[in-house]
């Protein structure tokens, strides 16, 4: 793909680079301090540590990374063009496919953008149900992320499988509510598609109450672990100023100590009525990114308990809200929410017809990748792998 030399055979392709021969992009090639040769390694695209089909073009001086260029687009299917070719409702199931973990929050972000564009109101019960599902998604995403990150660190299997055990319980809830484990297609403009039953709510309550025990177990295994601390502390530090400038959002931004959570800042849905704290990191390294997510899950449990307790009755969907035949009048809207990975936003331009004239996805994974090179410079390849893991990307969303 981009800038490529032919990739054949092994995935990690090592070759010697002559500085004079290297002028593929017109950028100057870094030189070795120690007088040795530089190595260019292609890490990926089919490597387990890249979380999908992702390639890093790494130049090494000895073991130290002196340049790293991410290369992606392998999963590009022009999602935004597909959105222009279908009705507003028709894009809803496509938003599931951006991210295999966060279908519910992607649905919500899209629904919010369309509701802003068309001026649709949402019944209170639906707002609560949306919060419940978003927080379950956050638990799901952060548990899995911790598992994947530990896998990248080299603790093969165990933490990931523990996380997957919990993930399966949440996916069971999603399935019984929406009919699908991962591709939920659950939110609608002006509410949600089906009303959760009393049984379902009881199941969600049971899961929420039991989740602390899982987190205690998980943290006993990982948080204080000496090897994990040695491996992740001080690695991939992201200064707060760079994080803000680079548009980094979500737990990654908060791990750098910037208090910015859209649930507080925008106060969308019923979040202003719920009591929760926003955990912040001090150092902005990989360990802080892991820790912030762990603490966020504890807060999510609190939010879930409040939302399940306060859930009002009433309709789940605004009966006057149009779904299939929605034709917002000409204009535009940008709607965003705090997804588990960061700010997920949708920008829509309507020309008054049934299809959007422009449908844009602001994917958190894509923007968060901007600073990957800055984080990795001066570290080793093994560190680059866990830095990438701590950014929390899903390639379906990066490539769109």
């Amino acid at each position: 793909m981009t800038n490529d030399l032919p990739v054949t055979g092994s995935q990690a392709r090592v070759r010697k680079v002559k500085p004079s021969a290297f002028d593929l992009r017109g950028s100057s090639f870094p030189t070795s301090d120690g007088g040795g040769d530089l190595l260019e390694i292609s890490l990926g695209p089919h490597h387990p540590s890249t979380h999908g089909v992702f390639r890093m073009d790494v130049v090494l001086d000895g073991e130290t990374i002196v340049r790293l260029k991410p290369v992606f687009g392998y999963l590009h299917r022009n999602h935004e063009k597909l959105g222009e070719g279908t009705s507003y409702l028709g894009s809803m199931p496509y938003t599931d496919r951006l991210d295999y973990l966060n279908a519910m929050t992607n649905n919500w972000a899209y629904a919010i953008a369309v509701e802003k564009l068309a001026g649709v109101t949402v019944p209170e019960r639906a707002e609560y149900v949306r919060v419940i599902l978003a927080e379950l998604t956050r638990l799901l995403n952060h548990s899995c992320l911790a598992g994947f990150l530990m896998q990248d660190c080299g603790c093969s299997g165990t933490p990931l499988m523990y996380a997957f055990r919990e993930r399966e319980k949440i996916l069971d809830l999603f399935e019984s509510l929406s009919g699908s484990r991962m591709m939920c297609n659950y939110q609608r403009f002006g509410g949600c598609r089906v009303d959760p039953t009393a049984d379902w709510l009881e199941g969600a309550r049971r899961l929420t109450d039991g989740y602390s025990a899982f987190l205690d177990e998980y943290e006993a295994l990982l948080t204080g672990n000496e090897i994990i601390m040695a491996r992740t502390q001080g690695v991939g530090r992201l200064p707060a100023a760079l994080a803000v400038s680079a548009g980094v959002t979500g737990p990654m931004l908060r791990a750098s100590g910037v208090a910015h959570d859209l649930r507080k800042v925008d106060g969308y849905g019923v979040y202003p009525r719920l009591n929760f704290r926003v955990p912040l990191g001090d150092h902005g390294d990989v360990y802080d990114r892991y820790m912030v997510r762990m603490l966020e899950m504890r807060e999510s449990i609190g939010i879930l308990q409040q939302a399940l307790r306060d859930l009002p009755g009433g309709p789940i969907l605004d009966p006057k809200a149009k779904q299939r035949g929605l034709r917002p009048k000409a204009g535009e809207a940008y709607g965003r929410i705090e997804g588990p990975k960061g700010e997920i936003g949708f920008y829509l331009i309507s020309d008054g017809t049934g299809n959007p004239a422009r449908y844009r996805v602001r994917a958190p994974s894509f923007v968060n990748l901007t600073i990957l090179e800055d984080l990795c410079l001066g570290h080793t390849v093994a560190d680059a792998v866990i830095i990438l893991g701590s950014i929390d990307i899903v390639l379906g969303e990066v490539d769109r």
């Binding site: 793909m1 981009t2 800038n3 490529d4 992009r25 950028s27 992606f72 687009g73 590009h76 022009n78 935004e80 063009k81 802003k116 564009l117 068309a118 001026g119 760079l242 803000v244 400038s245 680079a246 548009g247 980094v248 959002t249 910037v258 910015h260 800042v265 917002p328 009048k329 000409a330 204009g331 535009e332 809207a333 940008y334 709607g335 965003r336 700010e343 936003g345 920008y347 331009i349 309507s350 004239a357 422009r358 844009r360 602001r362 894509f366 923007v367 990748l369 901007t370 600073i371 490539d399 769109r400």
Partner: protein
């Protein structure tokens, strides 16, 4: 945040050589935008980022919009003097004109420090073919780096001053810009055992497909056997 009209006045007073137009947004979202044109726009961006009342330190979203050339019909009312003693008649005339196309880049700016936003900025290119350059805001907000590359890749807007302007989602040898409205997909039809509907119409362009009795080539009815 201050009203867009006030901000527009402030920008016009401070920067000579730029024009700022307010683009109203009739939708319930109410997110109107400022259209910037002229020279030295990057200075304006630095100002928006550093001004103590705005401090728009986060450029959240950068995207392109393609506005192809289109025909617009304007209705003009003309008063024609009537015959002496009669009232003048009003005649409506419809004038067709072609509105030139352009590419637009939209920036959504927020302030994390002051918790305000969005300020929606728009830049427009001169046309869709040869005057497609706008200044890059990557030196101002680092988050533009990949997003402007994406706009370059999918829409063909050239960002002047971007440190590393390459394709990002499509491969380097790719020629066209797929998000443009007039983009034509490559004809990459693959053999289908049972073509029907518009797939059948496509198949016929590549090799002879036996026609069912009573079937037509019309894509709407192709593959269906009429009574």
């Amino acid at each position: 945040m201050e009203a867009l009209e006030v901000l527009r006045e402030r920008l016009c007073a401070r920067f000579s050589g730029i024009e700022v137009a307010l683009i109203p947004n009739a939708s319930p979202s109410g997110q109107s935008s400022l259209l910037l044109s002229g020279s030295g726009l990057r200075e304006v961006a630095y100002f928006l980022r550093d001004d103590p009342a705005l401090r728009l330190d986060q450029c959240s979203n950068v995207t392109g919009v393609d506005w192809p050339e289109r025909e617009v019909v304007d209705t003009v009312k003309e008063t024609q003097p009537g015959a002496p003693g009669e009232a003048p008649t009003i005649v409506e005339r419809k004038i067709k004109r072609t509105e030139p196309g352009c590419l637009e880049v939209v920036y959504h700016l927020y302030s994390i420090a002051l918790r305000q936003g969005p300020l929606v900025l728009r830049l427009r290119t001169g046309n869709r073919t040869d005057a497609v350059t706008v200044p890059s805001f990557t030196p101002v907000w680092r988050s533009c780096e990949f997003q402007e590359r994406e706009v370059f890749d999918l829409f063909g807007v050239v960002f002047e001053g971007h440190p590393d302007l390459r394709r990002i989602l499509m491969w380097d040898a790719f020629k066209d810009h797929p998000m443009r409205k007039d983009y034509v997909e490559p004809d990459d039809y693959e053999w289908e055992p049972t073509p029907h509907g518009d797939v059948l119409a496509k198949a016929r362009k590549h090799y002879p497909v036996p026609m069912a009795p009573g079937a037509t080539d019309d894509p709407a009815t192709a593959g269906k056997i009429s009574e």
